[in-house]
């Protein structure tokens, strides 16, 4: 960061431009985290949302974005001020027991998420007519080698470039010439009363794929890794706002694409593949290929980064050696967790006739149970002057945050009831 400042002074760059340059060096963690958030599960949910409800739920993206920005900002601020990861802080403040059970749940939820990514890879392959028995084993090996033999920094950069694929959703959204007035109205002047019980699973899905437990760990580690200093807190906030806004714009356009073409067309859309294939006769090959590539890009990177992040924070919390640059003998737990997550997820996805949908729902339930708990930890840590010094939350911030947690509890409670408890009772 300082080097850019120095170069600015050297080359006599005007002050407003200075700020932009400093910002660019801080940008990264927020943008990357937000983009991994648009993973296979996310794209599937957005496609469903568009196909089934049209523009009707677009407005919910605004409160979701605000909540997302706030929770990520807290984690990033904690990382910057304390210089420690979230698992680290939870262990030091709440002890081994709490950390252990939280991590067990997290691993379970992450396994489900990783499965969702491999299912996404399988779907993307099928769009192009490739059997999942070919696409999944090859991509799991690729992902494993990419992380363990490749350079993580390069992986991250490639991923950022891969994110530009998402821009094409926006382009194709414009090409479809939707009714912009209707979109603006649905977003900013919504008919909130039109929401029905039938929308609940989609709504829950939208919230659930946007605000996830693991991303809090991920963004905090990323800012710690980057060594961002307290004086750059403001730039870090901009990074998060830009990242979340970009992500939500992409989300909006995926919903719009599917809403314009598929809503009310009388088609049965169950997942991202259905949506992609249904787009072909209506919007042309371009959309189908775009959806396929978008899904593949999102799934592969999330399938690489999720197990990696999980292995890192489990080892961090339990005090085991970690790091891709270590050997197996040096960090056995780390490599075991990483490798098993990938193998188990890939194998389960490949079991013939397995009901993937059920597995995904259960992993979402695990996420849903966890996220309010993780957010409570974050709020507690963020208000601890021993950790945050003068950078604790303001009262207003806490008030809104507790509101968000309450909403999350209600929404996830509804999810758990509808998807997990009710089917058991029937």
């Amino acid at each position: 960061m300082t080097d850019v400042k120095d170069k600015i002074e050297k080359y006599n760059i005007p002050p407003y431009f200075k700020k932009v340059l400093i910002l660019l060096t801080i940008v990264g963690p927020g943008l990357i985290t937000a983009n991994i958030d648009n993973d296979a599960g996310g794209i599937a949910t957005y496609s469903l949302a568009g196909a089934q409800t049209g523009f009707r739920l677009l407005w919910t993206l605004i409160p979701i974005t605000i909540a997302l920005i706030m929770v990520q900002e807290m984690s990033a601020r904690m990382g910057i001020v304390s210089g420690k990861g979230l698992a680290d802080l939870i262990r030091e403040k709440f002890g081994l027991k709490v950390t252990f059970y939280t991590l067990i749940f997290l691993i379970f939820a992450d396994l489900g998420n990783t499965m969702a990514e491999f299912a996404g890879i399988a779907s993307a392959g099928e769009i192009f007519g490739i059997s999942k028995y070919i696409s999944v084993p090859i991509s799991s090996l690729f992902v494993w080698l990419l992380i363990l033999k490749g350079d993580y920094k390069i992986v991250e950069r490639v991923f950022l470039v891969g994110c530009t694929v998402y821009l094409s959703y926006i382009i194709s959204g414009f090409m479809m010439k939707p009714d912009w007035l209707a979109i603006a109205k649905a977003t900013f002047l919504p008919d909130v009363t039109a929401i029905s019980m039938k929308d609940m699973p989609i709504l829950v899905g939208l919230v659930g794929t946007s605000i996830t437990p693991w991303m809090q760990f991920y963004i905090q580690s990323a800012v710690v890794e980057k060594g961002i200093k307290v004086k750059h807190l403001f730039e870090s906030k901009i990074d998060i706002i830009v990242g979340c806004t970009f992500m939500v714009t992409v989300t909006m356009f995926i919903i719009i694409c599917c809403a314009v073409n598929l809503h009310g067309a009388g088609l049965v859309i169950n997942d991202a593949k259905d949506a992609a294939l249904a787009l072909r006769p209506l919007a042309g090959d371009f959309s189908t290929i775009l959806f396929g590539i978008g899904l593949l890009n999102a799934s592969i990177f999330a399938a690489a980064l999720l197990p990696l992040a999980a292995s890192y924070y489990v080892c961090e919390g339990l005090g085991w050696e970690s790091g891709v640059d270590k050997s197996f003998e040096e960090a056995p737990h780390f490599f075991t967790i990483f490798t098993s997550l990938i193998i188990i997820a890939a194998v389960i996805v490949l079991i013939p006739n397995i009901n993937l949908f059920k597995i995904l729902i259960w992993s979402q339930v695990a996420n849903g149970v966890l996220i309010p708990i993780i957010l409570l930890y974050i709020l507690n840590l963020c208000n601890d002057p021993d950790i945050m010094g003068e950078y604790t939350n303001t009262k207003m911030y806490n008030f809104i945050s507790y509101g968000i947690i309450l909403l999350m509890v209600l929404i996830n409670g509804a999810l758990i009831y509808f998807e997990a408890i009710r089917p058991l009772l029937e």
């Binding site: 210089g83 950390t99 339990l318």
Partner: protein
């Protein structure tokens, strides 16, 4: 006398810190005073003595001195009638003469108030100065000594983790059914307290003003120390590094990961940064400076007092970091054409610390034009006091230019089995690249 024995209801020799936590503290007539939440110890002992028990009642923290403990067990701790009760998160340090001070004790000598031991060590990272790595502590082990408890070990490993989770008995029984002699049951992973180095933490620092000295850290090899610093959070890393002496700082910086290197060189103290650079060999100094931004590097160079070092660093800084010129050392063993075997052998003790290697002898004239070379081994093989002019090798000398990529350097070393390669441009000997300069590139530590 048994009624006076604090441990009359406690048979085990060693005490697990985690098992004490949550024990009931009982006062007069068995009235509950609260539950144990931590212990205060005298950090200035080699094996710290427990001096007070901290307990929690209605969310508030109190402590009772060890002298007022009547009976100790995991189940409950009885406090003598009318014993004084302190209310504080920390324990006021008592000034008394100490004959024994351990290395670790120095960490706490300037403390005004003692923090409880759990807060400093339990669930936190510490440096194991014997194993030379950063570990997370799962439990603390104490032993009974007379009527007192002393801290002896920090415990890491799976078994202590299972104990904390409350499954120790269950897991122990299950394993002893199948493998009664298993490694798990026989051995705990313990770190002797004298090798425990607490890591400075922002929150503890703020409350109790600990002065964490680094005497035990300094004796660790710089390469290990660099690994340790890489494992710490930024606050602990910078605090520990700032307390090292110049030489250790210099040695550690040359070993440390290039990503975190810039954060350790303090921009506000250019004078010290320059002094650290002066302590390094010129080629290492240049490696470090390459990781900093140009302006900062220039400012540091300007502050270097040793004009010879300054000049050498400037010369080397002209080249890219990944070519021979950027990797080489320009401090080589200069041999004059008029030298003889004896005159060279006499000079070796004087130059040994200064030059990259004495194994290869490079013969240059006054303008540093390269004339020839000879290995030390070859020189020693002559029994007479030979003239260099007569024995030096002038033809077929393997050398590279300063713009050769490190990969070419590595290839040449491999092909011709060399430990050192002279770097020559227009006949002038600029410096020497040795194999240990190339290894980090080969091992992907640098690029």
């Amino acid at each position: 006398m048994s009624s006076l024995n604090i441990f009359s209801n406690f048979d085990e020799v060693s005490v697990h810190f985690s098992s004490c936590i949550g024990s009931k503290v009982l006062g007069r007539d068995g009235v509950s005073l609260g539950k144990v939440c931590d212990l205060f110890v005298d950090y200035e002992d080699l094996y710290p003595l427990v001096i007070a028990i901290q307990y929690k009642r209605n969310g508030q923290l109190f402590y009772a001195n060890w002298e007022s403990v009547e009976n100790f067990s995991y189940h409950e701790i009885k406090i003598k009638n009318d014993a004084p009760e302190g209310q504080s998160r920390t324990f006021p340090k008592q000034e008394n003469e100490k004959s024994i001070t351990s290395i670790l004790a120095n960490q706490f000598t300037e403390a005004i108030e003692y923090p409880p031991i759990g807060k400093i060590v339990l669930d936190r990272q510490i440096v194991d100065t014997s194993g030379k790595k950063v570990v997370r502590v799962n439990d603390i082990q104490l032993i009974k000594v007379g009527q007192h408890l002393r801290v002896t070990h920090a415990e890491i490993g799976v078994r202590s983790m299972i104990r904390r989770l409350g499954y120790e008995k269950l897991v122990d029984k299950t394993i002893s059914l199948f493998r009664p002699n298993s490694h798990y049951l026989k051995k705990s992973q313990l770190i002797n307290w004298k090798y425990v180095h607490a890591i400075p933490s922002r929150n503890i620092h703020k409350n109790v003003k600990l002065n964490l000295s680094n005497d035990d850290i300094k004796s660790i090899h710089p390469a290990d120390l660099a690994d340790i610093l890489e494992d710490l959070d930024s606050f602990g890393r910078e605090t520990i590094f700032s307390k090292l002496d110049l030489q250790t700082k210099a040695d550690t910086l040359t070993e440390i990961d290039e990503e975190i290197l810039p954060s350790l060189i303090n921009e506000d103290n250019l004078d010290e940064a320059a002094k650290i650079i002066e302590e390094m060999d010129a080629d290492d100094a240049v490696d470090v400076l390459h990781e900093l931004d140009e302006r900062k590097a220039q400012l540091i160079i300007e502050n270097i007092k040793d004009s010879e070092q300054k000049e050498e660093v400037r010369e080397l800084l002209e080249y890219e970091a990944n070519v021979a010129g950027g990797i080489m050392s320009n401090e080589y063993f200069e041999i004059d054409i008029e030298d003889t075997k004896n005159s060279i052998l006499e000079r070796i003790p004087k130059v040994f610390d200064e030059v990259e290697t004495v194994n290869d002898l490079y013969i240059v004239d006054k303008e540093y034009q390269f004339l020839g070379m000879l290995t030390l081994g070859e020189l020693l093989s002559y029994s007479d006091n030979v003239n260099i002019r007569d024995v030096m090798q002038e033809q077929d000398i393997i050398s590279l230019g300063p713009d050769a990529h490190w990969k070419d350097v590595a290839e040449y070393m491999n092909k011709y089995n060399l430990f050192n390669i002279p770097i020559i441009e227009n006949g002038e000997l600029l410096g020497v690249v040795s194999v240990d300069d190339i290894l980090p590139y080969l091992l992907n530590e640098k690029s």
